[in-house]
């Protein structure tokens, strides 16, 4: 390896983990087994809100193959209360959150009993023998109704459905002006209410957990994003000492925040395995996942934007109702708060106020879903900017440019007090317009409109930024979050010259193994193939805060880089000793220490072997190059981008077809373009899906009617357009790698781009909003002067399995 070889960072390497992940010939939790394994099946409440008056499990206990049956009462002491790590306010109210309901169920799908059986089928068969009597209570479904004076309450002991009220006011914080004054003095006010529909993360691999209590440590395998946090939280929740627990996240098939959770099933599996002294496994079905794994989004946003007639924005007021669902899960209350700092986005608002009321309903709890608070914020502001442009008769991109932070104004402290380190919105936007053919498409739009074509063209813009790299620990502390935001890594130099990288980041499809290998190969000058990345096991990677919030590269890989620096520092001392020179005389490039001005050199792998032998080390040097580092970022990073979407709306049917989608993202320095491209594509698919397809719908009794993929519509490749992607590269100045994070960008940016395009296509019919998802019926109804939220909550799911009758039809 020499310095002339192409650097690894920036190289479009196929991912080393793909072969085993794509073929499935790998260690998914459900693939694993241990001797004497028992299987769990959960009985779930069919009703949304009820007192449990009795549970009779005697028949189930006698069923073939059944080892035990437990109700919430049976394990009430051991199961504790599921943790919430983010009390957003000092006076936040929260109910106890038993993993198995004890006296009352508060959402349809809540677990009420668990069967332990020798076989999975036997466990499921026995569920039918359990008899539960429910005394139904009034359901609480609507956010506004839930906070009304005489509202039925989800948790009678709390006496209210309001969990917390969180406020940020720039005047009070001293970071900006008074928004009420801005509104009073505004020449133009845009007032809107937007609904962020409830979504379901719908990761590919269902959740699965296997607990083996037969060793000295109890081992928990789980399809989780957060093995380290899970270990701590299981210990705190169940009282099993932390050092007696080992948590392993083997290969995990996606999460999108949906596996950023300490689940009832994980707790119950641990409690049951401990009580029986036998290993147990649970793997959910898809419908169980859609019903009971946490949901995302679900906000009602009341928004007021103040501006001058010349288009300059002067204030933004945000008033949110956020649906917690029935309980506060791990970071439930913090999700809308994460959005608080992003409503002002890339614009120079002088005054800003954000208030959020967190509300309980009798629905599945919500929590993090890709973007977590930031997509909601970005949607709101990017929709408002298009509305302001329409109100003023301005081009929406030009209006944005008038208000955004110019590239020579960075670093820029926003009205929220965040310091944006770098960015170039002009460059990304110019490139996007060029790729898009913006002027030509605007001309076609005018032509179709003039002609009265039945197919109308609409163009939507989204110029987004997000805060990535969660997070500086001091910031998390100021937000009352229950942990820090650092990440840990270690590098082990093996005697044969190979390298093990230990990371606290926990990949579940992101490609850390490839990206970390590229970074370390460059840093240590070793071949890519000689680097192995170890993660996801609290035994091999003992410290970490795991993977979410686009933090892995900006925080996790930075810890790797810091560990690598220590390795080189240690090796330098040994190399100087080996070559009998001063440390300062050595330069390290391409994996070799060279004595300046000479041909004499030695490779870091030779140093590693010498250290292993330890026959001749400098005095006081311990025989190890291995090093660890814990990195706590000073600031977030702020990727940005310009997304442009053109849609064709069939005005006769309301059907929306995406004609062209262009995005130019600036995610800073790119380690692997293939991985970035994959993240952008997947993110776009999910963001477009929120705009057009996905919606978790409950009927008036609180039953989820979109409980299968026949009813909860995920788009496939044929439903999505070709994505024209490109990048600008403005390195982040908050970390040494210059990276910004890309995991959530596509999801955050694309939703408003699509809805802006749909509204733009039909604005001349008098339409200024269409509720998401913009279904054909909603679009057609809006065009024809009807309500823009047609077919909203309460509508029955159509077609699909939802329409199959209980006899299963005639087949």
């Amino acid at each position: 390896m020499t310095a002339t070889i192409e650097p690894e960072v920036g190289r479009a390497r196929p991912r080393k983990e793909d072969a085993r992940l794509v073929t499935g010939r790998t260690r998914w939790t459900d693939n694993l087994t241990v001797p004497g394994l028992l299987h769990l099946a959960f009985l779930r409440s069919p009703v949304a809100h009820a007192k449990i008056t009795s549970i009779d499990v005697e028949a189930a206990r006698r069923a073939p193959g059944v080892v035990a049956v437990f109700t919430g009462r049976d394990i009430a002491d051991a199961q504790g209360s599921l943790p919430c790590a983010w009390p957003v306010t000092a006076d936040q109210v929260a109910p106890a959150a038993p993993s198995l309901a004890v006296d009352q169920v508060n959402f349809a799908g809540e677990a009420v009993a668990v069967v332990v059986a020798r076989g999975k089928a036997e466990a499921h068969d026995a569920l039918e023998a359990i008899d539960v009597d429910y005394d139904e209570l009034p359901v609480v479904l609507d956010l506004r109704a839930a906070i009304a004076e005489d509202a039925d309450v989800v948790h009678p002991d709390l006496g209210t459905n309001r969990s917390a009220h969180w406020v940020f006011d720039s005047a009070e914080a001293g970071t900006g002006g008074d928004v009420e004054q801005a509104i009073a003095e505004a020449e133009v006010l845009i007032e809107r209410t937007y609904r962020q529909q409830r979504l379901i993360p719908a990761f590919m691999e269902p959740r699965s957990v296997l607990v083996d209590p037969t060793g000295e440590q109890t081992t928990v395998w789980s399809a989780t994003q957060i093995p380290h946090i899970l270990r701590l939280m299981l210990a705190l929740t169940t009282g099993v000492p932390e050092h007696k627990l080992r948590v392993i996240a083997p290969d995990v098939g996606g999460g999108f925040g949906g596996k950023l959770q300490v689940t009832p099933e994980e707790v119950v599996a641990l409690v049951v395995a401990t009580r029986l002294g036998k290993p147990v496994k649970w793997t959910e079905s898809r419908s169980e996942s859609l019903l009971s794994a946490h949901h995302g989004r679900d906000q009602l946003q009341r928004l007021t934007l103040a501006a001058r007639r010349d288009g300059t924005v002067t204030g933004l007021k945000v008033d949110l109702l956020a649906d917690m669902g029935a309980y506060l899960r791990l970071v439930t209350p913090g999700v809308p708060i994460l959005g608080a700092f992003m409503f002002n986005a890339i614009y120079k608002f002088p005054a800003y106020r954000f208030a959020c009321t967190n509300v309980f309903t009798t629905k599945t709890p919500t929590d993090a879903y890709r973007g977590a608070g930031r997509p909601e914020a970005t949607f709101a502001i990017e929709r408002l900017m298009d509305e302001l442009a329409a109100e003023l008769g301005r081009d929406p991109i030009e209006l944005r440019e008038q208000n955004w932070i110019k590239h020579d104004e960075f670093p820029f402290t926003t009205v929220c007090g965040l310091e944006y380190d770098s960015g170039n919105y002009e460059a990304a936007t110019a490139r996007a317009k060029e790729l898009f053919g913006y002027d030509e498409l605007r001309a076609e739009q005018r032509e179709r409109r003039d002609r009265g074509d039945s197919v109308q063209l609409g163009i939507g813009t989204s110029t987004f930024t997000e805060m990535c790299g969660l997070a500086p620990s001091r910031v998390l502390g100021s937000l009352s979050y229950g942990a820090g935001g650092w990440e840990h890594a270690a590098i082990r130099m093996l005697p044969s010259g190979k390298v093990e990288v230990v990371t606290g980041s926990s990949a579940h499809g992101q490609g850390h193994e490839t990206a970390w290998s590229q970074i370390v190969a460059d840093q240590l000058g070793v071949p890519f193939e000689d680097v192995e990345v170890l993660h996801g096991d609290t035994q091999s990677s003992p410290k970490g805060l795991d993977t979410y919030g686009s933090r892995s590269l900006t925080v996790g890989a930075m810890a790797v880089l810091k560990a690598g620096e220590k390795v080189i520092r240690k090796a330098r001392r040994v190399a100087a000793h080996m070559m009998e020179c001063a440390e300062d005389d050595l330069e390290f490039t391409g994996g070799r220490f060279t004595v300046r001005g000479t041909e004499r050199s030695t490779g870091i792998t030779e140093v590693a072997l010498a250290v292993f032998a330890a026959h001749d080390l400098p005095d006081g040097v311990e025989p190890s190059l291995d090093s660890a580092a814990t990195f706590d970022p000073d600031n977030f990073s702020f990727p940005h981008g310009t997304h442009l979407c053109a849609v064709e709306v069939d005005t006769e049917t309301g059907f929306v077809k995406i004609r062209k989608y262009v995005c130019v993202d600036d995610v800073g320095v790119v380690v692997n373009p293939v991985i970035v491209e994959g993240q952008v594509h997947g993110g776009l698919a999910q963001g477009i899906a929120q705009a057009l397809y996905e919606e978790a719908v409950h009927d008036e009794s609180g039953t989820l009617t979109t409980g299968t993929f026949a009813d909860y519509l995920l788009p496939s490749a044929v439903d999505l357009p070709h994505f024209d992607t490109d990048r600008t590269e403005t390195p982040s100045t908050t970390n040494q790698l210059g990276v910004k994070g890309v995991g959530e960008a596509g999801t955050i940016a694309s939703t408003p781009a699509v809805v802006n395009a749909v509204v733009d296509a039909v604005r001349h019919f008098g339409v200024d909003d269409i509720q998401m998802p913009c279904t054909p019926m909603r679009v057609w109804t809006a065009i024809n002067g009807g309500p823009t939220d047609a077919g909203g909550p309460g509508g029955e799911a159509g077609g699909g399995l939802g329409s199959i009758d209980s006899t299963g039809g005639a087949l």
Binding site: D125, S287, T653, T775, G795, G798, G799, S806, T807, A810
Partner: protein, 284 residues
């Protein structure tokens, strides 16, 4: 999701299959490709005591030419229907509709007969079967009987097939040289139809000589758009006359309302899609 326990038998002849059904009583179910039944079993929406698997009965599978008709065996897969040269020439409407069914995996497992017997009003093969005046051949303990498609579908997921009978084949009159089109409207490609329209037309000298129009998901059963057919026959194959005829498409329909479409929107779609389907069929 794991189905409740059931007995399983896999006969190799129609007679054995019918006997197995008779012996298994009320709670037996026939399984072919399983694309509708298996999800229902896994969700325990149904718990039959016995499954009679007809996937190993050779005589039920395949497509043959029988004079004025095509005979399609009940367990012929959607994929086989799509690829069959006889279907392409003599029943292009059926092929067009089959192209829109679900995805390639489902089309390789799912069967034509299974889809008809399942009788989901949103299923895509019922309307073409009705439009083409097909007849369904049913085999029971007393032998065979033939039921017209118009009499076969009786309600949501319900047909004239008796518990002890097996659908063995579908006889489809040849529509050689007819224009055909299946206009499907769904939110995503793999979803069920919100509404769809099946059209076969024969044009002579610029005039529509014969027309068959049937609607998917506009009632509990597939419905023939009789008024549209009457208006089309004898009309010039022009946009104006087609649109005028299509205005009758929702007459006599009683669609369901759900989150994707209320009744008025479905009826509106029926008119728009009928106009488009006939236009495409005429041009084909």
């Amino acid at each position: 999701m794991i189905p409740a326990a059931f007995d399983y038998t896999a006969p190799s002849t129609v007679e054995d299959a019918v006997r197995a059904l008779a012996e298994s009583g009320e709670d037996a179910k026939v399984i072919a490709g399983g694309q509708s039944l298996i999800p229902v079993l896994r969700m325990r929406l149904a718990a039959p005591t016995t499954l009679v698997d007809i996937g190993r009965v050779p005589e039920l599978r395949g497509i043959r030419d029988d004079g004025d008709e095509l005979v399609i065996g009940a367990t012929t897969t959607h994929y086989e229907v799509q690829r069959d040269p006889l279907v392409r020439v003599h029943a292009p409407l059926l092929r067009a509709a089959t192209d829109t069914v679900a995805d390639p995996q489902v089309r390789h497992r799912g069967t034509f007969g299974g889809a008809l017997v399942h009788a989901d009003p949103a299923g895509d093969l019922l309307a073409p079967t009705l439009a083409l005046d097909a007849e369904l051949v049913l085999h029971g303990p007393a032998g065979r009987r033939t039921v017209a498609a118009a009499d076969f579908f009786t309600d949501y997921f319900t047909t004239a097939l008796r518990q002890d009978e097996l659908l063995v084949a579908v006889r489809i009159p040849k529509h050689t040289g007819w224009g055909a089109h299946y206009e499907k409207f769904s939110r995503v490609a793999q979803a069920w139809s919100i509404v769809a329209v099946a059209v076969a037309v024969r044009v002579e000298g610029g005039v529509i000589a014969e027309a068959r129009v049937a609607l998917t998901n506009m009632s509990a059963v597939p419905v023939r758009a009789d008024a549209v057919e009457r208006a089309l026959v004898g009309s010039p194959a022009t946009a104006e006359s087609i649109k005028a005829a299509a205005a009758h498409a929702a007459e006599g329909t009683s669609p369901t309302a759900d989150g994707d479409a209320d009744v008025a929107y479905r009826q509106h779609l029926a008119r728009v899609l009928t106009s488009r389907a006939v236009t495409a069929a005429v041009g084909a």
